[in-house]
Point group: C5
Chain length 99, copies 5
Amino acid sequence: MLLGKVVGTVVSTKKEPELEGLRMLLVRELDAAWQATGKVIVAVDAVNAGDGEIVLFAAGSSARQTLATKDRPVDHVIMAIVDTVTANGAVVYDKQRDA
Amino acid sequence: MLLGKVVGTVVSTKKEPELEGLRMLLVRELDAAWQATGKVIVAVDAVNAGDGEIVLFAAGSSARQTLATKDRPVDHVIMAIVDTVTANGAVVYDKQRDA
Amino acid sequence: MLLGKVVGTVVSTKKEPELEGLRMLLVRELDAAWQATGKVIVAVDAVNAGDGEIVLFAAGSSARQTLATKDRPVDHVIMAIVDTVTANGAVVYDKQRDA
Amino acid sequence: MLLGKVVGTVVSTKKEPELEGLRMLLVRELDAAWQATGKVIVAVDAVNAGDGEIVLFAAGSSARQTLATKDRPVDHVIMAIVDTVTANGAVVYDKQRDA
Amino acid sequence: MLLGKVVGTVVSTKKEPELEGLRMLLVRELDAAWQATGKVIVAVDAVNAGDGEIVLFAAGSSARQTLATKDRPVDHVIMAIVDTVTANGAVVYDKQRDA
């Protein structure tokens, strides 16, 4: 999985029927300094994530292993909202502290 | 999924039988500034997308989860035409406005 | 799928039994200017492609969705020979014209 | 698989139910000089790896082939703790020596 | 598949039970000039490859399509030892000549 920051939303009315009802969020990958400077992907939201939150997302066939995405043409899913990230002994992200 | 812009078409007569009848479009990935400057891929069109439209496409085994692409040797599919993209609180793409 | 140019062949006698009889071609990815300057991969040939031809290839599990490659340890397959590529309204590749 | 170094942990309370009980570790990829300067990914720990250890991790659907991760939305798993790495005839990493 | 050069070995005693008995080799990807300057990956050896040999390896779920790797958490497998590579009409690698 990769860490990313929710930075926006994508809306589409003309789409595959299997995508109906799925919320699609823009997620920007965090770099090694924990900044949202990386690649922007679109992920289905399985955990009701909010704008600006740091999340974990999975890619590929693993993105179809949630109830919301099973058998759908989805290749990225947000499946966790991050509380804390600890790296090299320091808390580099704390949702309460950094919100 | 990734955001891309439909920039062209690919025609092939000599191909795997399972590809018969599928429309293959050239899609160029959008960068973080929402410009079509990224990698060019070829995706099967599952939503009747048109030239110049901003679309969502899925890769890998997820690309075979549409009716059109099931069990076919297809690893990219366009499965949504994008209406709006909102990032950092601003509408960075609006199909009506930007068309 | 990606566009590539067939640039060579790979021969191997000591290999997995499931690879027997498969033709393995060197393919170089086309860049956004349609030049074969990209990554070099090895793909199984499912359409009898020839040296110098522009082809479409699929990667990952989708590469196993052809009759030739089913259930084999193959992660790239050439499944179409390209006739024409049209981008931004212009024919950027035409097999007859450019051969 | 890729070689990486365990550099931290990720904690999340709001997540997909299938992720309950899984330990999620931050892993930084090793470069060709065996330094942890590469991409940072989050992997489920299947072997009780510790901070600072060099590990092997698998990605994609292969990450779901462990008892801990079967059918879960997990796309990276740590499935071995490395004792030694030998490259070009020299032991470039030895857990006992380099710990 | 990609071409690579076997450059070393990885030894691990603490690992997933499904990995028991598998030989894990360090492989460095060949670049477009056929030099081993690329990314270093760890692949299971399915063909008894030796140090310094040029090999073909497959990634992703295709890496599990060999008898040795079936249903195991393995995402790279060496499934052929290369005899010759011909590119642009010239033999750029010949195992007998270049050994």
